[in-house]
C-alpha cells in the first residue's frame, strides 16, 4: 500500500482553497503552511505561452531523505492496516515512513525541534511550528502534511481534497491498480523528482505537456545539502542526554529545559 495524491493541472484553477482548508483543519499558524500554490508564468515554453501552478505538499517519498537523520529517541511502534488487520513492528525515531500505508509521519511528542528533517527535505515541505512546544522541543516541532492520516483513517478525504472546487486533487492507494490515482499514473502522472535524487515522490502531477514543462522547469528542486541536516542531527544527538534529563524533570519546566539546553550548547 502506498498512498499518493494526484494534482490534475488541467482541472486546477490555482484558487488556494486547499491551502486555507489545511490551515483551518490542522491549526497551522498563519505564517506557515503544510501545502502551497505557486503561480507559474505566463512564460514561453518553446513557442507556446504557458501559465500554471505549483501545487505542492509533502511527497511522502518512497525513499524519504527527511527521516534518515532524525535524532529523536527511537521507539518500537506497531503499525496496522485498518483494512486487512496486517501488523508490522518497527523501531522508528520521531519521524518515519509508515511501513503499511507509505505515508511519512512525525511523532511530535518525540520531536526535539532540531530542524534536521526540515533542512533535508528538498521540497521545503516541512517547517518548524513554533506554537508546538514542550520540555524536549522548546523551539517548536517539525510539522508537515500527513495526507490527513487522522481523516483518511476515519474514511474521510484529506481536507484539501474535500475542498478542491474542481476535483483537481485526487487521493488514494497508488499500489491499487483500480484506484483513480493509479489510473492517473498510467496516463502519465509524475512526481517532481529532485535533481540527481531518487526519492520517489508520491504526490504526482498530470497536465498538458506545456504546463508540465513549465512546472518541472521552474520547480524541480536540488537535493538539499545534507551536511547541514546531518550537523543539526548530530548536535541534537550530543544534546540528547541533557534534554532527556530535562524532559524527566518536568518540574523544571520550559525555562529549566532552556537552561539545560544552554548548558549543553556551552559544552
Amino acid at each position: 500500500m502506498q498512498y499518493g495524491m494526484i494534482i490534475d493541472l488541467d482541472r486546477c484553477v490555482g484558487c488556494h482553497a486547499c491551502v486555507i482548508a489545511c490551515k483551518a483543519e490542522w491549526d497551522v499558524p498563519t505564517e506557515f503552511a503544510r501545502n502551497w500554490v505557486r503561480h507559474l508564468g505566463p512564460a514561453k515554453i518553446g513557442e507556446e505561452m504557458a501559465m500554471s501552478y505549483y501545487v505542492g505538499l509533502c511527497n511522502h517519498c518512497a525513499d524519504p531523505v527527511c527521516v534518515t537523520d532524525c535524532p529523536g529517541e527511537p521507539l518500537e511502534v506497531t503499525f496496522s492496516n485498518p483494512k486487512t488487520g496486517e501488523k508490522k513492528t518497527a523501531t522508528v525515531p520521531a519521524t518515519w515512513k509508515d511501513p503499511i500505508d507509505g505515508t511519512v509521519q512525525i511523532d511530535k511528542s518525540r520531536c526535539i525541534g532540531c530542524g534536521a528533517c526540515i533542512e533535508a527535505c528538498p521540497y521545503h515541505a516541512r517547517y518548524l511550528n513554533p506554537a508546538l512546544i514542550d520540555a524536549i522541543g522548546s523551539d517548536g516541532k517539525a510539522d508537515k502534511c500527513t495526507y490527513c492520516k487522522p481523516r483518511f483513517e476515519q474514511g474521510l478525504p484529506p481536507a484539501c481534497v474535500q475542498t478542491c472546487i474542481t476535483g483537481a486533487r485526487i487521493f488514494g492507494d497508488l499500489d491499487d491498480p483500480a484506484s483513480e490515482v493509479a489510473q492517473y499514473v498510467k496516463k502519465g502522472a509524475v512526481g517532481l523528482e529532485a535533481k540527481g535524487g531518487n526519492l520517489g515522490p508520491n504526490s504526482r502531477y498530470f497536465g498538458k505537456k506545456k504546463d508540465m514543462d513549465l512546472l518541472f522547469s521552474t520547480s524541480t528542486p536540488e537535493l538539499a545539502g545534507l551536511e547541514k541536516a546531518g550537523r543539526r542531527a548530530l548536535m541534537a544527538k550530543i544534546m540528547q542526554p541533557a534534554m532527556k534529563a530535562a524532559g524527566e524533570l518536568t518540574v523544571l519546566g520550559l525555562v529549566g529545559a532552556a537552561a539545560v539546553k544552554a548548558l549543553a550548547d556551552k559544552e
Partner: protein, 745 residues
C-alpha cells in the same frame, strides 16, 4: 542556529508562539504541565452546525461550520449542496479569520474628528439611533427625501435599501454592482433578449466556450468554475479574447491578445462574416429574432480585414473563431461576462454579444445560454411606493431619461455631481451600507468632495474599510456568519444532471459577537427614529426570513431539519419560450438617439509614455473586502504589476522590482507594488489585481499592502446609454526610485 536557545531566541520563539497559537497552547507552553495538543486533532470530530451561506463573495455557496465549544474552527461546503457541494474556495475557507478578525467593527462609533481623519468614540446603540434620527431627520426635513443618497451593496443592504427607497422615498440610490460592474450587461441584454443574462451559460455541456475578457479562474465562483472546468474536461474548445494571458487563456485552445477597447469591432466582424457566409442558425434567426436586415446593413463595413487592423489581430484568427463557433452552433457558450464596465462603450459591446449569440442560435439549448429553472419564493419587505419623478436625476426637463438604459437606481455621477454642485437640488445626507465607494467608484477625489459637503454621513459595515473613515456615525454589522438572511435558490450545478431545485436560507453559525447587529435591527430602529415605525414589515431578520420561506411552504425550523437546504424536483430548462425574441435591431434604442444595431465606438488611446491600466481579480480576494483577512493576505500580500517582459527590459525592470505609479491626471499611488515581467501581456497595457492598497490604518493587515488601482482610475468614462462607469481608459507611467519612467510604445 535554530536550536541554540538563548534568552533572546527563547523570548522570540515565545512571542511567535503567542502570536500564532490558540490560547490553550500558550497556557501549556507557559506551564509545561499536561501533554496538551502537540498534535492538532483536526476538526472532523467537532460539532457540525448547518445552514450557513457564504458571503466572502456574492456567489453564496452553502456551507456548514465545525464548532469546538463556542468557537467556530472551520467552514466547509454543505455536503447536501447540489451547487458547490462539500467544496468551498480559499475565501470561503478563510471566513473563520473574518469572523474573529480583531480589526472588525465591534461597537457603534461616533467620529469626533474630521471626515477622512476620524477620531472614534464608542457610543451606545441608543445614542447612535438618537443621533441618526436627529441628523437624517433634519436633512430630510430641510431638503426633502431626495436630499439623501445611498450607496448600498450586498445581501445585508437589501432591506435598508428598500426602506430608504420605498418609505423615505429617495431616488438617489446607486449600487456599485450595477453602475461599476454588471448593470450594463443586464440592461444591454434586456434590450436584446428581455432577460438579464446573469452568467447562465451551460459551459459543462458546450462544444465551444467563448470568453471575452473574462476572469474565470481568477474570479472563483465555485459552481460556475465547476461548470467551466467540466466543460473543458468534456472536450469543449476554449476561446479567450484578452490582452493578457489570463488564467482562462492558460487553459484555452485559442487566445486572441486583442487591442484593449476594440472588442466590439471584433464581434461585429464575426457577425458580418456569419451573415455574409450564411453561417448563422437560419431557423433560430427566423423564429426568434427581429431586425436581421438592419443588422446586416449595420455591420457591413466590418470586414475581417478591417477588424484585424482595428483589433491588432490576424484576420485569419478572427475567421477561425467565427468558424469554430458556427460549426459547433448552437451548443456554444458565449459568456455574457460579469464585471463589464470597461470602456464606456460597453452597452453596444454587450448588445453585440447578445446578437452574436442569437445568430448562433445559442439560447435555451444544451451548451448555450440557458438559465436553470429555480424555485420561486416570495420576498417580504417594505411596502412598495412610487417616487415623484420630479426629483429623479435621470429624467431630463423634456421628461426623457438622460441614460435611457440605466440599471435600477440613479447613475453614480448624477448623484455625485448634483451633491457637489447643489444643482438641481442639494444632497446633504449620505447612507453607505456594505459598500466601499472609495474602492468601487472611480475618481476618489469626487467621492470625497461629495462627502465633505454632506451634513451627515452614516456608514454600516462589518469592518473599517476606507469609506468608513468618512462616516459621522459608524455602525458595526453582524457578518454573514452571525446573522440570518434572505433566501438563496437555484438548481443543480450541471444542467445535464437530474433536474433539481434548492431553497436555502442563511442561518447564523455563530451568535453575533460584541455589539454587532443585523440589518433588520438597525433599519427598524432608524425607521422608528424617523417616524416610520408603523410601516415595519418584520420585527426581526429571523421573522422576515421565516415569512419569505412560508410563501414557499417552508420554515426555518423545517430547513434546519433538512440540514439547511431544501431540495425538490426540478424542471427541464432546455425549452425555449415561444415568445422569446432577440432584437438584432432595437427601435427603442434608435429612437433614444443611439445606434439601434450594435455599433463600435473607439476608445481613447494612451498618450506617449503611458500604458493603459487594466485591473482584474486574484483567486484569494474579493476586491477590497477580503484584504484584511490574515490567511488570504498571507497567500497574496501584494498585487504585482504585470508588464510585458520586453517593455520591462527596456525600462531596466526585473521581476520583483518595486514600482509606484502616476496616471494621466497626475494622480500618484501612495504605495508601491512589485513587478511581474511576462510575455503574457500586450505592450500597450499594464495590469494589476483590483482592491489592494487599503488606506484605513484600522485594517492592520491590509493597510498599505499593494497598490489601490481605483485611486489611479481618476477618469470615469460614462457609458452614454446606461450611465455606468467605464474604468479602463486610464493610463499610467511607472515610478522607480523616485524617477518617472516613460513606457515605450
Amino acid at each position: 542556529m535554530a536550536f541554540k536557545l538563548t534568552r533572546r531566541t527563547f523570548l522570540q520563539s515565545a512571542a511567535l508562539a503567542a502570536m500564532s497559537a490558540p490560547l490553550a497552547k500558550i497556557a501549556y507552553a507557559e506551564s509545561t504541565l499536561a501533554p496538551a495538543a502537540l498534535e492538532a486533532k483536526g476538526t472532523f470530530a467537532d460539532e457540525t452546525v448547518c445552514g450557513g451561506i457564504c458571503e466572502m463573495c456574492f456567489w453564496r455557496c452553502q456551507i456548514i461550520g465545525k464548532k469546538r465549544g463556542d468557537r467556530l474552527v472551520k467552514l466547509e461546503g454543505n455536503p447536501k449542496s447540489i451547487d458547490n457541494g462539500a467544496a468551498i474556495c480559499a475565501r470561503g475557507n478563510a471566513g473563520i479569520q473574518m469572523l474573529y478578525d480583531p480589526d472588525r467593527l465591534k461597537y457603534p462609533l461616533k467620529n469626533t474628528g474630521e471626515r477622512g481623519k476620524p477620531v472614534w468614540k464608542r457610543i451606545s446603540w441608543d445614542e447612535a439611533f438618537a443621533e441618526i434620527g436627529e441628523k437624517l431627520g433634519a436633512a430630510i426635513k430641510k431638503y426633502g427625501a431626495h436630499g439623501l443618497c445611498m450607496f448600498p451593496h450586498g445581501a445585508s443592504a437589501k432591506y435598508p435599501m428598500q426602506f430608504f427607497d420605498n418609505i423615505v422615498g429617495t431616488p438617489n440610490i446607486s449600487e456599485a454592482s450595477f453602475f461599476q460592474c454588471r448593470g450594463v450587461r443586464d440592461t444591454a441584454y434586456m434590450s436584446s433578449t428581455s432577460i438579464p443574462p446573469n452568467e447562465s451559460v451551460d459551459m459543462a455541456n458546450a462544444k465551444v466556450i467563448f470568453l471575452l475578457g473574462s476572469h474565470l479562474g481568477e474570479n472563483i465562483h465555485v459552481s460556475h468554475i465547476k461548470n467551466y472546468i467540466q466543460g473543458l474536461q468534456n472536450g469543449a474548445k476554449l476561446i479567450v479574447v484578452d490582452p493578457r494571458y489570463s488564467a482562462a487563456a492558460a487553459k484555452s485552445d485559442v487566445w486572441l491578445a486583442i487591442k484593449p477597447g476594440t472588442d466590439t469591432a471584433f464581434l461585429l466582424a464575426m457577425i458580418n462574416y456569419l451573415i455574409e457566409k450564411k453561417k448563422y442558425q437560419a431557423d433560430f434567426v427566423e423564429n426568434h429574432t427581429a431586425g436581421l436586415d438592419e443588422l446586416t446593413v449595420g455591420v457591413r463595413e466590418w470586414t475581417l480585414a478591417r477588424a484585424a487592423a482595428e483589433c491588432d489581430l490576424p484576420a485569419e484568427k478572427i475567421q477561425l473563431v467565427a468558424d469554430m463557433l458556427a460549426e459547433n452552433a448552437p451548443n456554444v457558450s458565449l459568456h455574457p461576462g460579469r464585471h463589464v464596465s470597461w470602456y464606456g462603450n460597453d452597452f453596444q459591446r454587450q448588445r453585440a454579444l447578445a446578437c452574436l449569440t442569437a445568430l448562433l442560435g445559442a439560447y435555451y439549448v444544451r451548451g448555450g445560454w440557458c438559465p436553470g429553472k429555480a424555485p420561486k419564493v416570495e420576498e417580504i419587505g417594505w411596502a412598495k411606493s412610487e417616487h415623484d419623478e420630479k426629483f429623479d436625476l435621470n429624467i431630463k426637463e423634456d421628461g426623457k431619461r438622460k441614460y435611457p438604459f440605466s440599471p435600477p437606481g440613479t447613475p453614480t455621477d448624477l448623484i455625485r455631481d448634483t451633491a457637489i454642485s447643489g444643482n438641481p437640488y442639494p444632497i446633504k445626507a449620505c447612507v453607505i451600507w456594505g459598500q466601499n465607494p472609495i474602492q468601487t467608484i472611480p475618481d476618489q477625489e469626487k467621492t470625497k468632495n461629495m462627502l465633505k459637503q454632506m451634513d451627515f454621513v452614516l456608514c454600516v459595515d462589518i469592518q473599517p474599510t476606507d469609506i468608513t473613515m468618512w462616516a459621522d456615525i459608524l455602525l458595526p454589522q453582524a457578518s454573514y456568519l452571525e446573522r440570518y438572511d434572505l433566501i438563496k435558490t437555484g438548481v443543480q450545478w450541471n444542467l445535464a444532471d437530474k433536474h433539481q431545485q434548492y431553497i436555502a436560507a442563511r442561518m447564523p453559525l455563530s451568535p453575533p459577537l460584541f455589539e454587532r447587529k443585523d440589518q433588520v435591527f438597525i433599519t427598524n430602529a432608524i425607521a422608528k427614529a424617523l417616524g416610520h415605525g408603523d410601516k415595519i414589515p418584520a420585527e426581526s431578520l429571523e421573522q422576515l426570513v421565516d415569512k419569505s420561506l412560508a410563501a414557499a411552504g417552508l420554515s426555518l425550523s423545517q430547513l434546519k431539519k433538512e440540514d439547511g437546504i431544501h431540495i425538490q424536483d426540478g424542471k427541464d430548462p432546455f425549452v425555449i419560450p415561444e415568445d422569446f425574441e432577440v432584437l438584432l435591431f432595437n427601435e427603442e434604442i434608435a429612437d433614444a438617439g443611439f445606434p439601434g444595431v450594435p455599433t463600435y465606438i473607439p476608445v481613447p488611446q494612451p498618450p506617449p509614455g503611458f500604458a493603459r491600466l487594466v485591473y482584474g481579480r486574484v483567486q484569494v480576494h474579493t476586491f477590497n473586502r477580503t484584504q484584511n483577512n490574515a490567511w488570504l493576505h498571507q497567500e497574496m500580500p501584494v498585487n504585482p504589476l504585470w508588464i510585458n517582459d520586453e517593455t520591462a527590459a527596456k525600462l531596466g525592470l526585473k521581476d520583483g522590482d518595486t514600482v509606484g505609479f502616476v496616471n494621466q491626471d497626475g494622480v500618484k499611488s501612495p504605495t508601491t507594488t512589485i513587478v511581474k515581467a511576462t510575455p503574457g501581456i500586450r505592450k500597450d497595457v499594464v495590469y494589476m489585481a483590483h482592491g489592494y492598497g487599503s488606506k484605513n490604518p484600522l485594517l492592520t493587515v491590509g493597510v498599505g499592502a499593494g497598490v489601490d488601482d481605483t485611486q489611479l482610475i481618476s477618469k470615469a468614462s460614462v457609458d452614454p446609454e446606461s450611465g455606468t462607469h467605464g474604468m479602463r481608459n486610464n493610463f499610467v507611467q511607472l515610478i522607480k526610485d523616485g524617477k518617472t519612467l516613460d513606457i515605450p510604445a
